[in-house]
């Protein structure tokens, strides 16, 4: 296959880029129940279906629970399956998310991150996908429109290699509705990259030797299945690295498990997800010009958690702030904070770690907000004490 490192830019929103990626993948089945702010993914994709540009069977269902149920049925039958949702939609899928992962079905779901009610809100935060973090889905988080598009292709490969469902997350409105410069990949090169899907087993694969999927297991076997699922999740980390490396080699855009920025000699850093990373990088550049050694670590892969890599990236730092766009309501910091803090526990001279909850329900997170967190961290280093371990900011 010819490598394609195109610099030809076009302007697409996150939603239209994901819909285009789905068109280029041409999945067998797409069960969907559109919800803001991911609506345009399914709206645009349904036009591709109506215009005969894909062969996909689009199943319009009556709820997200049914969307995931139909995805599970189709994937069990051996189909390549994709769908998209947000917020309450993901929450309504919750029961079925565990069945998709437990049955080891490589479904790819784009989740456009949106706050959960109540109070009702359509804007961005990460409480929806954070709520699904223990559901056995691989979770990839995307900083830009370009990365959202690229992650969808990689998600297909990762899912089918480790036989686990993959969730690609991008920020509602901030990424889903923003036009940014991005490069697309040709249809032929997409097809070459994702390849033909030939599951080892499926309900329809060999009618002479029928199989059951989803049979009852008692204490004799349930735990065995779970151990295999856990091992698959551990293996997924290496597969994400391999697939990302192949993608970089073919298309020239590099993605790691983590994205480190100015961390090598940093004293303090912010750890964060998705679109707010870029805003934080601008703050890093401005503070570096003033002589402050600050950096940022973006978590691209959150499930499985690259805990050893996180520890390696934060080794040698003096203070770290984990910025969560979701609250665990545990009176002990957000989900990212707890997992990053736990990841670095075995480091000698580990940095002090603080939790800052920001940007809930679409509240803007500006360069100044990142700068004030860095200022707090520098003060922690100077005084050696953490005054407030957990705090809401941007409020």
């Amino acid at each position: 296959m010819a490598t394609e490192k195109s610099n030809e830019m076009q302007g697409l929103t996150g939603n239209s880029a994901v819909a285009l990626a789905m068109k280029q993948i041409n999945p067998d089945v797409c069960p969907a129940y559109p919800i803001t702010p991911s609506t345009a993914i399914i709206e645009t994709f349904s036009s591709y279906v109506a215009d005969g540009e894909v062969d996909t069977e689009l199943i319009t269902v009556e709820s997200e629970h049914s969307a995931m149920s139909a995805s599970i049925g189709a994937a069990a039958a051996g189909a390549r399956v994709m769908t998209a949702t947000s917020s309450q939609g993901l929450a309504l899928m919750w029961e079925m998310l565990y069945i998709a992962s437990g049955l080891r079905l490589p479904i790819v779901l784009t989740n456009v991150n949106r706050a959960l009610a109540a109070p009702i809100n359509i804007h961005c935060d990460h409480s929806d996908s954070m709520g699904a973090r223990d559901s056995g889905w691989v979770q990839l988080y995307s900083e830009t429109v370009q990365e959202s598009y690229d992650n969808v292709f990689m998600a297909v490969r990762i899912a089918e290699k480790v036989r686990l469902p993959v969730m690609v997350c991008l920020d509602g409105f901030i990424t889903s509705h923003a036009i940014e410069n991005m490069a697309t990949i040709s249809d032929a090169n997409v097809q070459d990259f994702v390849g033909e899907y030939t599951p080892e087993t499926s309900l329809l694969k060999d009618m002479e030797n029928p199989i059951s999927i989803g049979a009852m297991t008692l204490p004799d076997y349930y735990m065995t299945f779970k151990k295999q699922q856990s091992e698959a999740m551990a293996e997924a980390k290496d597969v994400v690295e391999e697939v990302s490396a192949e993608f970089a080699q073919k298309f020239g855009r590099e993605y790691g498990l983590l994205d480190s920025y100015e961390l090598e000699d940093a004293d303090v850093a912010i750890v964060i997800f998705n679109s707010a990373t870029g805003t934080t990088k601008v703050a890093v550049d401005e503070l570096r010009k003033e002589g402050f050694k600050v950096g940022v670590l973006r978590i691209r892969l959150f499930r499985p958690l690259p805990h050893a890599e996180i520890a390696a990236a934060l080794k040698g730092l003096k203070a770290v702030a984990c910025l969560d766009r979701a609250d665990s309501f545990n009176d002990f910091g957000g989900p990212l904070f707890n997992e990053v803090r736990s990841s670095i526990y075995d480091l000698e001279d580990r940095p002090k770690v603080i939790s800052r909850i920001y940007g809930l329900g679409g509240r803007d997170y500006k360069v100044e907000d990142a700068k004030s967190v860095f200022e707090e961290l520098l003060k922690v280093v100077e005084t050696g004490t953490v005054e407030e371990m957990t705090k809401y900011i941007t409020i």
Partner: protein, 198 residues
């Protein structure tokens, strides 16, 4: 980096205007962002949209708070505090840079608008264009976005009228009929020619 803020009411096309501006700048080799700020989704509700335009990749993903260019598609939004959207926010001049360029859709003079915007004696530039009348004349509907784009090209040189019209033809010919495309192209041209500075 240039930062632009659009003010209008839902259905006046400011989100599309930001989109067309972004696409036009992108086609001339710039890095761009174009994004809306939706509040309650109903006709007539105040809507904002934003652009960033730069020679370098744009990494920040926050709202534009200090625009150098402010386009007001609906003059009834002047002088009122705008609730809603991602955050409650002040009026149309809030956060604008000292030397910002304001373009207002109104049949009134730039001097009257300068006073209405409380910018008398300040270095900001104020332009007016009767985009509503142009859109009714050229498109047959009250959608002032394309004449505002033409006015922006004339007032700032951020884009050329030719690039704007080329982009619109290329990107929207599939979506709209030839009559609608031509009406909008004429509206852009009339907006370009019909702007007043004061």
């Amino acid at each position: 980096m240039l930062e632009v803020r659009w003010h209008g009411r839902a259905q006046q096309g400011v989100v599309t205007a930001a989109k067309v501006l972004g696409e036009t700048c992108l086609r001339t080799g710039k890095y761009v962002q174009a994004f809306p700020e939706f509040g309650p989704e109903r006709m007539g509700a105040p809507v904002k949209a934003y652009n960033r335009v730069s020679d370098e990749p744009i990494r920040m993903h926050c709202s534009v708070t200090n625009p150098g260019f402010v386009l007001i598609a609906d003059p009834t939004l002047i002088g009122i505090a705008l609730a809603g959207g991602m955050e409650s926010s002040g009026g149309v001049t809030e956060g604008a840079t000292e030397d910002a360029v304001f373009i207002v859709n109104t049949p009134k003079s730039p001097a009257e608008m300068r006073t209405a915007l409380e910018l008398d004696g300040k270095p900001a530039k104020v332009f007016t264009v009767d985009a509503s009348q142009i859109s009714i004349d050229k498109i047959g509907r009250h959608i002032p976005n394309t004449p505002m784009l033409g006015a922006l090209a004339k007032a700032t040189g951020m884009i050329t009228l030719e690039d704007l019209m080329d982009d619109f033809k290329v990107n929207y010919s599939k979506k709209y009929s030839e009559a609608v495309i031509n009406g909008n192209l004429e509206a852009m041209k009339s907006g370009y020619e019909g702007i007043s500075e004061g």
